[in-house]
């Protein structure tokens, strides 16, 4: 998982690329580098994040530059392994996102032919391969090299003596931006948006040649036409806008995200494969997996459609006997495991549906039909608004399958999110911040909400947190309860209120600090809990959403109180494009 960004046009190429790379840092941030092409080729690269200031790019003159922000897969993150990588002569520079699977073989062959390698990366082989065939025409050289590469890649290349950037894509997203007097190429739209809204999304096998004033796209050597899109995302969407963290900004975006997602879906015809589905399998990872679990409860309860939910990473190696619709969910549309799972479903002749946020991402090309979350770019590694947008998509599906029975609830659901944003969670945060372990429990559709709450707590605050179906706590984890392990419990009116209340009393008896999310006027819970958080709405859809938001805010404020790097938690990347 890495980000590439290239620019060709005006004289400030290197600084434009550096700014663009900052926007791509959410794709990985353990090293970065830039190559700029003026009279000669200059490279600067460094381990670590891009510093706010003090990174000297004065030496990088030229009107074309390529840059890279890295998430290490081959070779440890250090200065040498940072991209761009050069050939033996220092005339060719390459940045690359993806994995070259046959790089070991290629590297050995190249070494036998006398090439000297500096880094441990798979990318460096590309530079040396180009070197062997380069005779002053970079596009021709790249085209000649690509057949030798196996694996996934989005490549940008520069060569001394050729005033062009060459971009190539295979199974890794690459977007070309067309400005008034400049051209851009990037792993996604975020760094391009502030310059232009005209975008072309490359397809697998495409090679784009960016000259100062023209772009030419070929596939297998033959020119192809790719449709230009006008992207509506505003630059504002990708700015932090006064908020201290993207995560909080994105949490506050959620009321609008929810109603926008529903509104957009209502204007679209629902793909027939959904209405006809007698049985549904959903594959997803992480937060999307939790959203899928909520969907399962609703689909089975309200629509009587049998559904199973599988983590995509398991599904791809242990696929169940498949029949019926297979749905893959991925915010980025690039999650490797989910992509593979959908490919397998297709191979078994199952209809496939993608639920995705990023238009033009790989998953949309793969699936038979796609539904979009319309959540806008999500920068924070900890997913928040995409979860709410995924719920919006699912709730809309349930609504349509039920013939509009939940339309009213859907219309007013954003109010529940808005109200949850107003709650003061200080007492709950005080209860969590010093804990080393926290349990999150719920029942029914609130069980996945508890899982999601625990995940948010883990990834932002680094506090060990576990989500459980409340009844399961007794089968083991109860042994861990003590006055040092707070429990966050969701207890709402309904069928399970009674059992949930008795679960909570049992926990109380162990001296566990209790944070209970319950209905506003629930006196019992107010008395028994140490911290009571009144859910603005406790009824089904609105209740799910307000509980979700409270969980997100609890994790956020706890992490903030502990001084964590909230938007970029350690060891994590935004979208996981490798296994």
């Amino acid at each position: 998982m890495c980000g590439v960004f290239g620019y060709i046009g005006g004289p400030r190429a290197a600084s434009i690329v550096l700014e663009g790379l900052r926007k791509l840092e959410y794709r990985g941030y353990d090293s970065f580098g830039i190559a700029a092409l003026g009279k000669t080729l200059h490279v600067a690269k460094r381990q670590g994040r891009i510093p706010e200031e003090g990174f000297d790019i004065r030496g990088l003159a030229g009107n074309a530059a390529i840059g890279h922000t890295r998430w290490a897969t081959h070779g440890v993150p250090n200065d040498t392994n940072a991209h761009p990588h050069l050939d033996c002569t220092g005339k060719i520079a390459v940045v690359h996102n993806g994995v070259i699977e046959n790089f070991a073989v290629l590297k050995r062959q190249l070494q036998e032919r006398g090439h000297r390698f500096l880094s441990d990366t798979d990318t460096e082989v590309i530079a040396h391969l180009i070197e062997e065939v380069y005779e002053g025409d970079l596009p021709a050289a790249v085209n000649a090299v690509l057949p030798a590469l196996e694996g996934s890649y989005a490549i940008l290349a520069l060569a001394k003596g050729d005033k062009r950037i060459v971009a190539a894509r295979n199974r890794s997203t690459l977007v070309i931006g067309i400005g008034d007097d400049a051209l851009f190429a990037a792993s996604d739209m975020t760094p391009i948006l502030e310059h232009t809204r005209r975008m072309v999304v490359l397809e697998d096998g495409d090679v784009a040649t960016l000259a100062p004033a023209s772009v030419c796209i070929t596939n297998g050597g033959a020119p192809v036409d790719r449709e230009e899109e006008i992207v509506q995302w505003s630059v504002e969407d990708v700015r932090k806008g006064g908020f201290r963290h993207f995560m909080l900004k994105e949490i506050f975006d959620q009321p609008a995200v929810f109603s926008e997602a529903v509104r957009a879906l209502r204007n679209e015809e629902l793909p027939g494969i959904i209405r006809d589905a007698g049985r549904v399998t959903i594959v997803a990872c992480g937060t999307s997996y939790h959203a899928a679990l909520v969907f399962r409860y609703l689909l089975e309860e309200k629509c009587r459609v049998p559904a199973r939910v599988e983590p995509a990473s398991e599904f791809r190696y242990y696929p169940p006997p498949l029949e019926g619709l297979v749905i893959g969910i991925s915010q980025s549309g690039e999650t490797a495991d989910t992509l593979t799972a959908l490919q397998m479903a297709k191979a078994r002749a199952c209809p496939t549906l993608a639920i995705v946020n990023v238009v033009g991402s790989s998953i949309t090309r793969l699936a038979d039909a796609s539904l979009f979350m319309n959540a806008g770019p999500e920068i924070s590694v900890a997913a928040t608004k995409s979860f709410v947008a995924e719920l919006a998509v699912f709730l809309h599906l349930v609504d349509v399958l039920k013939g509009g029975a939940c339309a009213y609830e859907l219309d007013s659901a954003h109010l529940a999110i808005e109200e949850a944003l107003l709650l003061d969670l200080t007492p709950a945060v005080a209860c969590c911040r010093d804990a080393t372990d926290i349990f999150f429990v719920g029942r029914g559709p609130f069980y996945p909400i508890a899982l999601e709450g625990a995940l948010k707590m883990k990834e932002t605050s680094y506090i060990h947190a576990e989500g459980y179906a409340a009844g399961e706590l007794k089968h083991g984890p109860f042994a861990l309860l003590s006055p040092e392990t707070p429990v966050v419990a969701i207890c709402v009116p309904g069928e399970t209120y009674g059992v949930m209340a008795s679960n909570i009393r049992e926990m109380k008896a162990r001296g566990t600090p209790l944070i209970v999310l319950g209905q506003k006027d629930d006196r019992d819970m107010q008395e028994i809990s140490d911290v009571f958080i009144p859910l603005p709405f406790a009824e089904s859809i609105a209740g799910l959403l307000s509980a979700t938001v409270i969980m997100q805010l609890l994790a956020y404020h706890t992490a903030d109180a502990l001084g964590r790097d909230i938007d970029r938690p350690r060891n994590l990347a935004k979208s996981v494009t490798v296994e």
Binding site: G241, G242, F243, F252, E418, E419, P536
Partner: protein
């Protein structure tokens, strides 16, 4: 020229409307009040705008992010006063600057006047000066400003809009901006008087109706919703994207109707009505001289006049809202206002209720057929049975 907009205060006198948002974010003609001073500044060519946010600061940031103009936000941790708020923005100030309250309406002409005079305050005559800082002046120079005097010696009040130089920041010794200004004057500083054109403040919640009316007069008509061909639209009406107007409904401008709003058949809306995004009016209902925030619903056969209704509140059918002149206590003072109702957010009222000069808190539930007036239901969260 820079501008510092003070938007950190809660605006307690405007409760229940300020429980969930600062005063600066209360919508007037479907836009938060703070948008109007920002618009005036932009019209005068001021691009470097700093907003001080405090109470519900994240909501302020979210709103500012939705505007086209890039605006800096600084945070005031504790709402100690306007002087302290300005101190929070001080590190950003490099040149002459304006200070403006984020919760007042001001026109661009007044801004351009005060821009022309360094070290000055924008002053306006007001019939009830005791609610403001009263300006004691000699000729066109200020002698002192007396904050909310019981017996006002003059009708000239400070709008809270100043044109100051960076030197002033060293006089910022008090948490109150007015006291800091007085301190500066005592130490021999000078402050000129500049007369304001249009300036309006909402001191009490019912003042919002007048503010709404004021702004609605400037409505430039535009229609982008779905209007039934039998519906009649007269006067300046701004109809948002995706709004629908049912058959035989009449809308009298000026009125502003937000995106996604639904107006049923046979309704009479306006004049002087603003309806927030996604608000919904059922058939045979009359609404006039009212301010409805986002997601408000009014049931069929209702009659609503001079109402301010908070976000997400819903009235059942056959609701009546009629103006009354109740005596209400606000922040310790008894005061008489004229209005139909001031209703907080997320209020549910069942059918056949009557509101007359009523202040209703947030999250209040009212069972059917109740008559509500004065402060009967002003506590947040009460259930009126």
């Amino acid at each position: 020229m820079q501008a510092v907009i003070l938007a950190a205060g809660e605006g307690r006198r405007l409760r229940p409307l300020t429980k969930n948002r600062p005063k600066a974010l209360i919508p007037v003609a479907n836009k938060p009040i703070i948008d109007y001073p920002i618009k005036a500044l932009l019209e005068c060519g001021i691009r470097d705008i700093i907003v001080v946010a405090g109470y519900r600061k994240d909501h302020v940031k979210r709103h500012l992010n939705s505007l086209d103009a890039p605006i800096k936000v600084v945070e005031q941790k504790n709402q100690l006063g306007t002087g302290d708020a300005l101190r929070c923005a001080a590190p950003q100030i490099r040149e002459n600057f304006l200070v403006l309250p984020g919760d007042n309406l001001i026109d661009a002409l007044s801004i351009s006047r005060i821009m022309a005079r360094q070290n000055s305050v924008l002053v306006k005559d007001h019939p009830y000066p005791s609610n403001f800082g009263v300006v004691m002046a000699e000729g066109d120079m200020v002698r002192s400003i007396i904050e909310k005097p019981e017996h006002a010696p003059s009708f000239s009040v400070s709008t809270g809009i100043y044109h100051l130089t960076p030197d002033f920041l060293s006089h910022l010794t008090d948490n109150s901006l007015t006291d800091s200004i007085n301190g500066m004057l005592e130490r021999g500083g000078h402050l000129g008087v500049v007369m304001a054109g249009e300036w309006h403040d909402a001191v009490y919640p019912w003042d919002l109706l007048a503010l709404n009316k004021k702004v609605l007069r400037e409505t430039s008509p535009a229609k982008s919703g779905a209007i039934d061909r039998t519906a009649v639209i007269r006067g300046p009406v701004l109809l948002g994207k995706g709004a629908t107007v049912g058959p035989f409904t009449v809308i009298y401008g000026p009125a502003v109707i937000g995106p996604g709003a639904e107006i049923g058949s046979h309704c009479a809306i306006g004049p002087f009505v603003s309806m927030g995004d996604r608000s919904k009016i059922d058939p045979f209902t009359l609404i006039r001289h009212s301010l409805l925030m986002e997601d408000v619903q009014v049931g069929s056969h209702s009659r609503v006049t001079e109402a301010v209704i908070g976000e997400g509140s819903a009235f059942g059918d056959h609701t009546t809202v009629e103006p009354g002149v109740p005596l209400v206590e606000i922040e310790g003072t008894l005061i008489r206002g004229r209005f139909g109702c001031i209703v907080g957010d997320h209020v549910r009222a069942d059918p056949l209720c009557i509101f007359q000069g009523a202040i209703v808190g947030n999250d209040v539930q009212i069972r059917g057929g109740k008559m509500i007036s004065g402060t009967d239901a002003c506590q947040d969260g009460v259930v009126v049975v």
